[in-house]
Structure formats: structure tokens, C-alpha cells
């Protein structure tokens, strides 16, 4: 029988474009210390650790064994889980199963990246098949630009619609002391920023960030003793649907997110996501995703994304606030990015989100995006499931 599992503590670094003062291992240590402090545990209370990042961003092979001093895994079980952009969420889901399985009571999930140490694009273009895709269609921007232009053609969305998403997230980041980009921007700023690949402009996309995140998971019975109001894991689901960018049907919506969220809603008993979910932390690596993917999540109908955003439903104080943390457009330490979504959702449920707290959060949703249009979904709740 699977055990119930809750998040009892979170920690993250103050995210920056580069962190010259620490090496990767020391940066991980910072986040882990903060997570342990948050739930008043010592590293000696932790039974197992899961860590994730992207190998070629720092060129460390076997990050699990390299990290032990910073991750706290000296004489402890540790394993590495890595799935591209979804890594942070995949690490969180792995932590869930470490505990749900009954093998471990208190588990630490870590995601990190020091993007300043490499050429992110030189590394990311190697994600696609060396024989078929790599030479001409690779990296993050070309496929996302394809998705965006297809969406615009399909539903008449505009560049200004997308800019509104970037402005929302960047505005929210002003209330998050950990966020990397904390300077307000306007729709005009986005429109005037350099074009990278039509229709994506510089201010439509995420930055490169140095940072780490750590989240403590605990078993039913243990969790309540650590945190008075733990954030229970109500559901998790993942779909890594495609292997080749050429196989993606850009007019069918984000299939992996449709499927993963459908399963997660079913497990959590959610029928009307926009009504039943109080806050969503979405892995939106670029602004256009903020229009389209909320449709795939069922927050609104197909093609209704731009209107839903324009009407302010996803703003703080709206029907379903999206990305109170400032989201990926404000902070993107890739291996940590999806775990930061989970951490923020947990903080919102636990009432620990400070100035960016959404009032009375009962249910929160977190997503990860990566690989070849892949999605991971977690649903967290205040009520013990």
C-alpha cells in the first residue's frame, strides 16, 4: 500500500546570473541548509537524497557522487534523476516514490544548475538526435518558435498577448526575494526587445541562472510532526511523449501536458481545474506557453488563452493566479527550475509565501516542461488525501 507523502520544508538560493563566490557543490549546500532550516531538521534526520541537473551544463559526470559534500549524502543513499527541463519535477516525483514506497521516511530532493559555467545553447543543441535533427533543428528556441507561430496562426493570438504573460511573471517576481530578474517591464519593453526567432523576442524567454533548490518530503505520521501544516502530494503524473521534434503536432496543443494533467486531476479528484485549483506554478519557459498551455491544463478552452490572460484571471488576486514566484521567465536554473515550481506550490499551500502569498490556498498545481515537449505535473493540497 502506498503511503501518503507531504512536503515539509523548502529551500532555495538567491538566484543570480552567476555565482562567482561558490562552486556548484557549495551552491547546492546553501539550498540544502535553507531547506533543513525551514523544517528544523538536521542532515542526520534525512534518510535518502535525490539530485538532478543537466550533465553538459557543467560537465560533471555522476553528479550524485560528486555532490555528496554539498547535498549531504556522505554515508547516505543518493541517486540521480534527470529528464531535461522536467528534471526538477522528476526529482520531486522520485522523492515522492522514495517515501510512498515505504523505503524511506524523510527524503531530500535537490535540483541545481550553474548555467554561467557553460554555453547553454552549445549544450542544449546536443539534445536532439545526432544523425537526424542536430545539424539543422535543435536547441530550445527553434521548436518553441514553431509552436508559437503555429498557435498564432491557429487562433489569431498576437505578440502583445504573449508579452502580457512576460509582464505578469516579471511583475510577480518583484515580490519574490529569491528571483533572478527583479526589474519591472512593460508590454512595450517586450515588443521592443530584439527578435530571436519569430515571434520570440528576448524578453519573451527565460534567462540563464545560477541557483539550487531543495525540498524535504516526509511520510504520513512523520510529516505532521515536522510541519504543522505540510503540503500533501495529491497526485503526480508525467508524460515524455516524443523523441523527435519532427513528430510533434504543433496544432494539437501540448499533448504531454493534456495527458499528464488529465491523469493528475483524476487522481486528485479535480473536475473543474480553474475553480478547484487556487494557484498554479507553471514551467513556462517562454511567454507564448502562458497562453497556450493553460488551455491544455483545462483552465480555459482552446484558443481562449489570450482572453483569459487579458481578463486578468491569472494575475495575483485573479481567479487562478499563475506563477506568484515570477516563474521561469524570471528565474531559470534549469535543473532546479521545475523543483522551484514544486517548492513554490508547497510554500503557497503551507502559507509560507510571504509577500506573494495567495490567500487561502487549499490546492496548488506545479508543472515541469522539458525534453521533447514533455510535461510533469504535481498537485499539492492542504488536506491530507
Amino acid at each position: 500500500m502506498a503511503r501518503r507523502v507531504a512536503i515539509v520544508g523548502t529551500g532555495q538560493t538567491d538566484h543570480r546570473s552567476h555565482r562567482p563566490d561558490v562552486n556548484g557543490r557549495e551552491m547546492i549546500y546553501e539550498a540544502v541548509k535553507r531547506a533543513l532550516d525551514d523544517c528544523q531538521l538536521s542532515i542526520h534526520d534525512i534518510d535518502a537524497i535525490i539530485i538532478g541537473n543537466m550533465d553538459h551544463f557543467e560537465s560533471i559526470n555522476y553528479v550524485d557522487t560528486w555532490s555528496v559534500e554539498g547535498s549531504g549524502a556522505v554515508m547516505k543513499p543518493i541517486m540521480k534523476v534527470t529528464t531535461g527541463g522536467t528534471t526538477g519535477a522528476s526529482v520531486a516525483i522520485a522523492a515522492y516514490y522514495h517515501v510512498a514506497s515505504g523505503f524511506f521516511d524523510k527524503v531530500l530532493a535537490i535540483g541545481w544548475e550553474k548555467n554561467s559555467e557553460s554555453d547553454t545553447t552549445a549544450a542544449i543543441i546536443t539534445c536532439s538526435d545526432p544523425v537526424w535533427d542536430r545539424a539543422f533543428y535543435s536547441g530550445a528556441i527553434p521548436s518553441l518558435a514553431t509552436e508559437a507561430s503555429a498557435y498564432m496562426k491557429q487562433y489569431g493570438a498576437t505578440q502583445e498577448d504573449a508579452a502580457r504573460v512576460a509582464v505578469r511573471d516579471r511583475t510577480n517576481a518583484l515580490s519574490n526575494p529569491h528571483a533572478h530578474l527583479r526589474k519591472p517591464i512593460t508590454i512595450e519593453d517586450v515588443m521592443a526587445s530584439p527578435m530571436l526567432a519569430y515571434p520570440i523576442k528576448l524578453l519573451d524567454v527565460c534567462p540563464r541562472t545560477d541557483g539550487a533548490a531543495a525540498v524535504v518530503f516526509a511520510a504520513d505520521g512523520v510529516a505532521q510532526k515536522i510541519a504543522p501544516k505540510p503540503a500533501w502530494i495529491r497526485a503526480c503524473a508525467a508524460r515524455h511523449t516524443y523523441s523527435w521534434f519532427g513528430d510533434v503536432d504543433y496544432n494539437a496543443g501540448l499533448l504531454s501536458l493534456q495527458r499528464a494533467s488529465k491523469e493528475a486531476y483524476q487522481r486528485a479528484g479535480i473536475r473543474e481545474p480553474a475553480d478547484e485549483i487556487d494557484v498554479a506554478e507553471l514551467y513556462l519557459p517562454y511567454s507564448y506557453a502562458g497562453l497556450k498551455w493553460i488551455e491544455d491544463l483545462g483552465f480555459c478552452g482552446p484558443g481562449e488563452g489570450p482572453g483569459f490572460i487579458r481578463d486578468g484571471h491569472t494575475d495575483m488576486g485573479g481567479k487562478i493566479p499563475v506563477n506568484p514566484s515570477g516563474g521561469v521567465i524570471s528565474t531559470n536554473c534549469i535543473g532546479a527550475t521545475a523543483l522551484l515550481r514544486v517548492a513554490e506550490a508547497a510554500m503557497q499551500v503551507m502559507g509560507k509565501a510571504g509577500q506573494r502569498q495567495v490567500p487561502d490556498v487549499e490546492v496548488a498545481l506545479a508543472t515541469g516542461f522539458g525534453g521533447c515537449f514533455w510535461s510533469d505535473v504535481l498537485i499539492l493540497g492542504k488536506a491530507r488525501p
Partner: protein
């Protein structure tokens, strides 16, 4: 722990260069193979764990290449980067955590990259990597320390190589079945003292898969279930100079917890067969010490006394071990598969008669910094 079992296994032949197949092809072949072995269909599988490494595959997000090949298009999926024993452990967690059946598949094509460059990448870029350390020279430091500490002779390591390459002759999947003498090993090319060419495992191409199922789904499979009795993993310090390389304390810890889970008090008595990760010949006796099968320093004696030979009381690596076939990451999963075949009684010429309890073992990181220990049994 609820009863969970391994109900299907598949592995490729391990060889120097599988030039006719991409790793996508290998994973697809293994996915079909493991379903066929188990008698289950892809519909019976509700989640997938792939095991791969971006350095080995020369690719960021190496798992992107194989999800579809593993039949995971519309299934829950994740990826463990590390040895297959660790990936399979996560697979087992997911069955105990609510799934019915996990398919675990690992691949590696050592022939497509440069394994020395890749293992150099294990060492931190600031203090160790620029010295040029990689797996062979780092392991040589460990072998040297081990010999010095306990007065072990190089011939004792050579004897392991002789035994395991001979065992490999009974394993149709093995890369290097060989009839060797101690003199052959001793006279082979010096790599990094005391390690010689025939003390090293080869670089192999290969893939493997298993299916782990809960009790209800184990009944659906056509195979004789092999029950998972205990699993544990543990890591120790990172810097080579921080560690006592002669004391595999993380293995000791993992073994202790795996035995406790399986209710084993005296492993030497309880275990019938061991498949361990002997990437270099000296590792077999050292890991046997870490597994608590003898006192520290007595590892070589187990072979000298014939205990770990095919006819001994506790055969170790009847398959020929990693020394005879080393597809990185896959090798740990292969240890589990070999233990499963032994317990099913399907290990053919390498069968240990009447094997009921088996141990499989895998490692991550330099010089066995992190270990994973599996105890498998024929009885629930």
C-alpha cells in the same frame, strides 16, 4: 514491504561494437524481449524507467532518444542516470508506491564515445580532473592501497580474472569468454600498476531490461516470479584523498540494510549466488569484504579456498561478471538479470544448482563511491 517480484528479463549479447544498431534499436529490442519473456503485453506496463548517461550517449537529455523505444509514449516515465541497479531500485519504489508494473531499461554504447574521457568527467574540474585521472588510474590507486594494507598479491587479483573469464565461457551473452592462466594476466600489458590489461573489464555495447510487478500482476506473468527481498544503496565521501579506499564502508552500510530487510543474519550461509560489479579484478575481493562475506583483508582467501568458484559454497559471478562484459550502466542491471536467471533455474550452463537466494550489486562514481545491493529470492 509488500511482495514485489521481477517477472521478466532481457539482455543483449555484449560485444565490442554493435554497429548495426543505434541505442534506440537496442532499447526497442529489449522492450520487446522483456515483454516476451514475461508473457505480459505493453498494455500491462503502467510505467517506465529508462537508464542512460549524457556523457556516454554524447547527448544532452540522453533519455530523449529512448522513451518511445521503451513504449512509454503515453505512460508515466522517468530516468535514472547511474548504474542500472539504482534505476531498478527506483522502479521497485514505484511499484510499492502505487504502480502495478515498472519496465526498467538501460542502454550504453561504449563504442560510440571515449570511455577514458567520460570517466575523467567523474572528477571535479577544479582539483582532480586536470591531473588526468580516469577510471583505470583511480582504481589503480585503490588496488595499490588495498594490496599495501593487507599484503594482497597481484596474483590474487589475476586469479579473479582467470575465474571470471572462464565462467564467461558458459554465458552466451558474455563479451569476453576466455581461457586464461594467472601467467597470462600477469604478463598482459601494464596499464597503471598494479592494474594490467586483463585486470580490466572491456568496454562493451549492450542493453538490458527487467519488469518489476506487484503480487497481483506477478500472477499474470508466465515466468516464475523472483521476489525482491531487500534493496539498499549508500554513498561515501567524494575526494579520493578523503576516503579510506581499502574500506568500502558505504557498501558495508548498504549491505547491512539490505540483509536486514531480507531477514538475513549470516549472508555467507544464506546466499547461494552473488553477482557483483567487478569492473577491475581487485574489486571482487574488496566488495566481498564490504558485503560482509569475510573479514577485512580476507577477500582474496575466499577464492584461494575455492568458495567463490562455480563448485564452491558461494559462486561469485557465474556469468563472468563485469570483467567479461561491461556495458556501463547496463552492467548492474545485468547482475540483477543473472541473479534472476539463477533463481529461476534458467541459467543453463552457468546454473548454480538449487539457488534460492541471490545477491546483485552495482556501483556509481570513482572506486565504488556509491553502492546498491539487491537481495532476491525464490520464496515470498
Amino acid at each position: 514491504m509488500d511482495n514485489i517480484a521481477i517477472v521478466g528479463v532481457a539482455q543483449t549479447k555484449y560485444e565490442r561494437r554493435k554497429k548495426d544498431k543505434t541505442y534506440y534499436d537496442l532499447v526497442f529490442e529489449m522492450t520487446k524481449g522483456v515483454l516476451e519473456d514475461s508473457g505480459l503485453t505493453l498494455e500491462d506496463i503502467d510505467n517506465v524507467i529508462t537508464v542512460s548517461n549524457d556523457f556516454l550517449d554524447g547527448r544532452t537529455i540522453s533519455s530523449m532518444a529512448v522513451g518511445e523505444a521503451a513504449g512509454a509514449g503515453d505512460k508515466n516515465i522517468s530516468t535514472v542516470e547511474g548504474d542500472g541497479t539504482f534505476g531498478a531500485f527506483y522502479g521497485a519504489m514505484r511499484v510499492l508506491g502505487g504502480f502495478n508494473t515498472t519496465l526498467v531499461v538501460a542502454h550504453s554504447k561504449g563504442s560510440e564515445g571515449d570511455v577514458k574521457h567520460i570517466t575523467n568527467g567523474m572528477f571535479d574540474p577544479i582539483f582532480q580532473r586536470l591531473l588526468g585521472l580516469e577510471a583505470i588510474s583511480a582504481s589503480a590507486l585503490q588496488a595499490n592501497a588495498y594490496m599495501d594494507r593487507y599484503g594482497v598479491r597481484e596474483e590474487s587479483f589475476a586469479r579473479v580474472s582467470v575465474k571470471n573469464h572462464a565462467n564467461a565461457k558458459n554465458n552466451p551473452y558474455a563479451h569476453l569468454p576466455m581461457e586464461l592462466t594467472i601467467e597470462d594476466v600477469m604478463a598482459s600489458q601494464k596499464m597503471a600498476d598494479p592494474i594490467k590489461l586483463l585486470d580490466c573489464s572491456p568496454v562493451s555495447d549492450g542493453a538490458a531490461a527487467i519488469i518489476i510487478a506487484n503480487e497481483a500482476h506477478a500472477r499474470k506473468a508466465k515466468t516464475k516470479p523472483v521476489w525482491i527481498k531487500g534493496i539498499a544503496h549508500c554513498a561515501e565521501e567524494y575526494f579520493l584523498g578523503d576516503r579510506d579506499l581499502t574500506n568500502p564502508k558505504s557498501l558495508r552500510d548498504a549491505a547491512k540494510r539490505a540483509y536486514a530487510m531480507a531477514g538475513i543474519a549470516d549472508p555467507l550461509k544464506s546466499l547461494d549466488v552473488v553477482e557483483l560489479y567487478d569492473a577491475f579484478s581487485y574489486m571482487e575481493p574488496l566488495w566481498l569484504e564490504g558485503l560482509g562475506l569475510c573479514n577485512p583483508g580476507d577477500g582474496p582467501k575466499l577464492l584461494d579456498d575455492g568458495i567463490t568458484t562455480m563448485s564452491g559454497a558461494l559462486p561469485v559471478n557465474p556469468s563472468g561478471g563485469v570483467l567479461s562484459s561491461h556495458a556501463l550502466l547496463v552492467a548492474g542491471l545485468a547482475r540483477i538479470i543473472e541473479a534472476v536467471l539463477q533463481l529461476r533455474g534458467e541459467a543453463e550452463n552457468r546454473q548454480v544448482e538449487g539457488a534460492k537466494t541471490g545477491l546483485a550489486h552495482g556501483i556509481n562514481g570513482p572506486c565504488g563511491q556509491s553502492h546498491c545491493v539487491w537481495i532476491l529470492g525464490t520464496e515470498k
